[in-house]
Symmetry: C2
């Protein structure tokens, strides 16, 4: 079997999860485990580092080769970061040298980093350091982010499920808004997305007929104009008697300042304890005298495993498995990508150098945003529609999804908590 | 077939939906339609009044006897009020006399009101007026509310699905919180429930092991104490490094004032544009210096049909069907109830006089709230667990639930919008 791959390199493997979880991030772990067991079990043991790269530094590892089948299966649909994650950025050279020592100590020759832009930067630095120090090691990045902002990949695992959940919520609460006549018939939903509007854009998938919710979308790619926003909301409200607005948390004005800066004050100088949604709610209520309802799904957007996109879930597994193949073929310093086939919808995997992905954000192309700047185009919908296809029927226990937790995580948790340096 | 029922009364039937929708309210409509077609088709036509009792007054009716099978099936899992709903309360005697005229004009002898406490009051008044005016008519109430606050019924259709959705969200975002070490590790979720804490309490179903989310629950049945709240949050946070709080939007302090009054100021005098969740977020951030994340699922709580409780969905149909049986048996002035069987879980239907339900709110029994006032007891969990059992696999279209819309609703919508007097 090993014949299909490159030069054999004996040694152990480590998986690291990093940054905010997605609803399918753990199925990428499953993909790596599956690939390792099939093709690399003879090389050594596959470990999981607990709570990100810190787990490696502190030798807090669990043996993933020994995972029982039941836990493995449940892992494939469990939200959160099963290995634990951390917003922790290595900065000093000494940190990297220490990390390399920890790899040597455990004879780790394969590193799989499941993460976003920041994590790919870390992975790239490890890859370069190992090469410089002549420690043979293969480092492969596995993409994940609900923000869908990694470049060179058609889309990112995690985005499809977040998009499906958000669009479903807009569809359902949109019907609620449409069918109940009450005094607050303007809804503003704040969607995740600090710098890229991909998730907000996905709300448009909910709209199947003319006039259906969402009516207005505001993305960080388009500078936010307060007067224009108020005019647009008023127009929809006047026409229909109600309005459904979806806005990215990271909206910025024309000078590049966040509309809601998170400081407790918005960019208009008013004290706001809510978020962007509450800022817009305040604007509308003060100017239109209409009561507004604000929805903020928060972390549920990246944890909504009860309504997974099957396409997304399967692709998350695929990129994890492919990471093992690349490593076993002798590659290092690459991130797995998804490449869309020309006909119908299907994705195969590709790869890209880590340093071309590291710290780069892919925003929504401006041609996929409507000329008025408050909607998406048909081309975007065509791009996004296949990504939310299919469901995954989860096993349940007492009426709720039967998620799993990896052993060892809880024990380590209290030690890790509170010590963590926030990401830069 | 008609032999099993009481004296035959020829005439038409009308269904009215009223108040906030639930995820299963339309399956009660299906139950009425099913019962009517099976047992009463010979009596006359079954109509739906569009946008509540206003549709009757304005003769905006659709023929539900003529509904095609495909729409009927989709109706059973579509959220929102398929007939349209309105927070509109008849107050003047003339309104009721006018309403009676509209029934006479259409020879309506059967009225089915799907609603909560307010709606049962309206139904009761119609029942009494018809009797006083010697117009033979049978008025039956069909319970619905995610608030679960109707008396004399074990629980209310709509509650189980909202509870399942809320508990699932807390389970998923709780795992997210547990597994990601970051700088804001306190989550406050604001749950619907102005006066009764049933839905907030259901969040506890998410907790399967010690220390799992939710850690603290605040219900309107317990006077809110600011200092105690802060101490409790601090204690959980100190112990675990994170904390998950669920609080009812309708929390009141010991003098009975809402903690968040919706006026733009909280009861502490601070300007707040968010809701109760943001008020608590502000409290914690100001006092503990920790960043808090606030979740507000808003109307998604009553529209989450993509993750229905099968038990809830089936019971919603059951109470609708039973309403037809009661009416055909000669009853009037009753609301259908759910009666829990002693062994295992099953519910049969019962009934109660409308005037005993009208405007009465059933709160959480204090013995189901923990002595410390920040959690529920095992007895509550035992009560609630069967209500969220089972799933309903919805047909999808392009990756989203394939919901339906009744014909006629959109046409009428623009006229009804904006004219509606808000409920008293």
């Amino acid at each position: 079997m090993e014949g299909v791959f490159g030069l054999k390199l004996s040694g152990n493997g480590v998986i690291v999860q990093s940054g905010g979880p997605t609803a399918v991030i753990n199925n990428s772990i499953c993909g790596v485990i599956w690939g390792w067991q099939k093709w690399a079990a003879g090389n050594g043991t596959l470990y999981g580092a607990l709570y990100g790269i810190r787990g490696m530094l502190e030798d807090n590892l669990i043996n993933l080769s020994a995972l029982d089948q039941r836990t493995f299966n449940a892992l494939g649909y469990t939200p959160g970061a099963a290995l634990g994650s951390c917003r922790y950025k290595l900065t000093a050279d000494e940190d990297y040298m220490e990390l390399l020592q920890s790899f040597k100590k455990r004879n780790v020759r394969y590193l799989f980093v499941v993460g976003g832009n920041d994590s790919m930067d870390t992975a790239d630095k490890v890859h370069r350091l190992a090469r410089r120090e002549k420690y043979e090691m293969r480092v492969i990045g596995v993409p994940k982010t609900i923000d869908n902002d990694l470049p060179f990949t058609d889309h990112c695992p995690g985005y499809g499920s977040a998009a499906k959940y958000l669009a479903t919520t807009v569809l359902e609460s949109g019907i609620d808004l449409e069918t109940l006549i009450t005094s607050n018939r303007i809804v503003i939903l704040e969607a995740m997305g600090r710098n890229a509007g991909w998730l907000t854009a996905a709300a448009a998938l909910a709209r199947r007929g003319r006039g259906e919710a969402p009516h207005l979308l505001y993305l960080p790619e388009v500078p936010f104009n307060r007067e224009q926003f108020l005019e647009e909301v008023e127009e929809v409200y006047r026409d229909r008697g109600y309005a459904y607005v979806v806005a990215s948390e990271g909206l910025k004005d024309s000078s590049g300042r966040y509309v809601f800066a998170g400081s407790g004050k918005d960019s208009f100088g008013h004290a706001r304890l809510g978020g962007l949604g509450d800022t817009l709610k305040g604007l509308v209520e003060e100017n239109m005298g209409v009561k507004v309802r604000c929805l903020n799904l928060g972390t549920a957007q990246r944890a909504s495993a009860h309504y997974l996109s099957r396409v997304d879930n399967e692709e998350a597994f695929l990129v994890g498995r492919q990471a093992v193949r690349l490593a076993l073929s002798g590659h290092s310093g690459l991130m797995v990508t998804l490449v869309r086939e020309e006909t119908d919808y299907a994705c195969r995997t590709g790869s890209i150098e880590l340093d071309r992905v590291a710290n780069v954000e892919k925003k929504m192309p401006l041609e996929w945003i409507s000329p008025a700047g408050n909607d998406v185009t048909a081309a975007f919908l065509e791009y996004a529609r296949p990504l939310i296809r299919g469901e995954v029927a989860l096993p349940t226990r007492e009426g709720l999804p039967d998620y799993t937790r990896l052993p060892g995580l809880a024990r380590y948790r209290s030690r890790a908590a509170g010590e963590c340096r926030p990401a830069v």
